[in-house]
């Protein structure tokens, strides 16, 4: 492991842990009926969001999918605002309109969770186009899964971004499954970098269970994009430990396969590495766990305490107020 500052290690671990505990709590609250609709957990994939977002600056934009709690938390959206959103409360980050799949926080340039697979990709291309036209040195990071690679919009978006040399960072979270359909059953070419390269987009594949590797690869790609040479593509090899959604009976993969991957848990492995290198004491770890727990408790309290948007306001946001 290259030189790692203690503070950085702790920060990365803290973020991953926050995501993990947040989602464990969300699953619990789902079973209790406080959260409804679809809930897609990111558990197992935390290193991707945490590592990738570390490499981006606050000025960069994020476009994510319906599996975006991790990205939202890693971006710094307060856990309370996200939890309140999942409760459907007016103090939720999308005022309860979106729920788990549609987290937005424009103040943090978090342009949302998109629930139509591939649907966020053209939006990311357009955000990058605006930056290019306005000569702003910003990057738009676009997250999507391996399943999205099969959609026509993936193809159209990559071509457009490459053709116009737009500052888009395509971040593919290859967790080997699109719902219950394994990569080999939805892609003729399972080495997804080759796809990116067919648009002349520089691509890299990286271990998505290693937060430092994720951060390093993303940083390289961000730097390349910022030179104005066009988009880059990074593929993260990762795995979701939980079912696709709370509805999924998870029949399509073996317990063994899941167990194998769990041995590579990004949080436990990173914790071990930090300890090996004397970058994390028992006390620090305990304090981390405690502070994360406290944050979750606060988040739930914030959600519980939130108000419901008045039904009278149902139509209020269909259109923007006209200001002439």
């Amino acid at each position: 492991m290259p030189a790692l500052e203690r503070a950085r290690g702790l920060a990365l671990l803290q973020k991953m842990l926050l995501i993990r505990r947040f989602e464990e709590k969300a699953a619990e609250l789902y079973s209790a009926g406080n959260i409804r609709g679809f809930l897609h957990l990111y558990i197992g994939e935390e290193a991707v969001a945490v590592g990738a977002l570390e490499a981006l600056s606050p000025d960069d934009a994020i476009v994510a999918t319906y599996r975006e709690h991790g990205h939202a938390l890693a971006r710094g959206i307060p856990a309370g605002a996200i939890m309140a959103e999942m409760y459907g409360k007016a103090n939720g980050c999308s005022r309860g309109h979106g729920g788990s799949m549609h987290i937005f926080d424009v103040s943090r340039r978090f342009y949302g969770g998109y629930a139509i697979v591939g649907g966020g990709m053209p939006i990311a291309v357009g955000l990058a186009l605006a930056d290019q036209l306005q000569h702003r040195p910003r990057v738009t990071a676009c997250f999507f899964g391996d399943g999205a690679v099969a959609e026509g919009e993936f193809h159209e978006s990559l071509n457009l971004a490459a053709l116009w040399k737009l500052p888009v960072l395509f971040l593919c979270e290859n967790n080997r499954y699109a719902m219950g359909t394994a990569l080999e059953r939805h892609q003729s070419q399972t080495d997804l970098r080759r796809k990116a390269e067919s648009y002349l987009i520089g691509a890299e594949q990286v271990d998505g269970m290693d937060v430092l590797a994720v951060a390093a690869a993303t940083r390289r790609a961000v730097e390349a994009v910022r030179t104005g040479s066009g988009p880059r593509f990074v593929e993260f090899l990762t795995y979701r430990f939980r079912a696709h959604s709370m509805y999924d009976p998870d029949l399509y993969r073996s317990k063994d396969e899941v167990a194998q991957w769990k041995r590579r848990d990004p949080i436990t492995t990173f914790t071990e590495r930090l300890r090996e290198h004397d970058l994390l004491s028992d006390a620090e770890l305990a304090e981390l766990e405690r502070s994360v727990e406290a944050a979750i408790v606060d988040a739930v309290a914030e959600a519980e305490g939130g108000a419901w948007e008045p039904v009278a306001d149902l139509l209020k946001d269909v259109h923007s107020p006209v200001t002439l």
């Binding site: 309860g96 309109h97 399943g147 719902m179 939805h186 149902l314």
Partner: protein, 328 residues
């Protein structure tokens, strides 16, 4: 007769179709190993193998179009689009190919394709996953559109659709999958030409389809308590609409309310309303009323979603208003 769920009825229909016709195959996202997003095809992969239960990539346009091509090639495909929400990605294939190939080729081709998809809101799935677009499909010449609201239709419409020479679209209301009803297990294909009177009544005609049928029936029960006898009609077939059944009822009652989970403007309810005026103007005692969804992208929060969707109370209120109104 056995009691079964809407989901099991769809499953039984699929299984029977696969057993009887070797050209039938099912294709769509997660129909195989996952067992179907709504578990309608669980176990079918094991029984019929991967050639006939085909998991597809996330490529709605390509696999819908491939269904058209396979139908042209002599197969009997059933394409499942997981939900109506994703069908927008395949709409070009539907409108420009499936629906037009027969006419455009001067009658040389037929596209014997069945497309199933789950539809509707009410499950807190928010703006991108709660659409009701059956009305759009009902606009397209060259296809038939079915909306099963009962377990026997859930099975029997599929079997009937597989006898049609042209594309048939079946909209399964997702919220109905776990609901139970009586199924005659020996019954095969059902009629797919007529609407059904689900409850007889003399005072007002309540017209609906799919997931709103249980609400309409509950509203009718409530109204009966107050002395208003509503006739409840289940459209069943959204294209071509069975005007005769509607008009016969409205000519008798003189009043009609159309319940439709779609956004009000441009809904199928508008078409039904216009047709009733066109066909029973002089018998109408009041303007045909509509109970539809509020015109808003579906919000996630339950109280907001409830407010956006047609509810039993809304139907009751609309009927009561009609019973007193003497026209606008």
């Amino acid at each position: 007769m056995t009691t079964t769920t809407y989901r099991e009825a769809v499953h039984a229909g699929l299984r029977e179709a696969l057993q009887t016709n070797p050209h039938v195959f099912l294709m769509g996202e997660d129909v195989g190993r996952y067992g179907g997003a709504y578990a309608c095809s669980r176990g079918l992969l094991e029984e019929f193998g991967p050639d006939r239960i085909r998991d597809t990539p996330l490529s709605e346009s390509a696999f819908l179009g491939a269904g058209i091509g396979a139908a042209l090639g002599g197969e009997r495909p059933i394409v499942e689009i997981m939900t109506v929400n994703f069908s927008l990605l395949a709409l070009d294939q539907i409108v420009n190919n499936a629906a037009t190939l027969r006419h455009m080729s001067g009658g040389q081709l037929s596209v014997p394709l069945v497309v199933r998809m789950a539809t509707g809101g009410g499950r807190q799935l928010a703006a991108q996953h709660s659409h009701t677009l059956e009305g759009w499909y009902a606009h397209i010449p060259g296809i038939k559109v079915l909306a099963p609201a009962t377990v026997s239709d859930a099975k029997g419409m599929l079997l009937a659709a597989l006898r049609e020479p042209d594309p048939v679209f079946i909209f399964e209301y997702a919220g109905l999958y776990p609901t139970e009803g009586d199924l005659d297990e020996t019954a095969g294909a059902v009629n797919i030409t007529s609407a059904a009177v689900r409850r007889a009544g003399r005072d007002v005609t309540v017209i609906t389809y799919g997931g709103s049928l249980p609400k309409a029936i509950a509203a009718a029960a409530e109204l009966a308590g107050a002395g208003v006898e509503a006739e409840v009609i289940d459209l069943r077939v959204l294209r071509p609409l069975d005007d005769a059944t509607l008009l016969e009822s409205v000519r008798k009652t003189g009043r009609a309310v159309v319940i439709d989970e779609a956004w009000r403007t441009g809904s199928l309810a508008a078409e039904v309303s216009a047709r009733i005026m066109e066909g029973a103007f002089s018998q109408l005692k009041a303007p045909v009323a509509r109970v539809c969804s509020a015109e808003v992208p579906m919000p996630y929060a339950k109280h907001l979603e409830d407010a956006a969707l047609p509810q039993i109370a809304d139907i009751v209120a609309a009927v009561r208003h009609l019973m007193t109104a003497a026209g606008a």
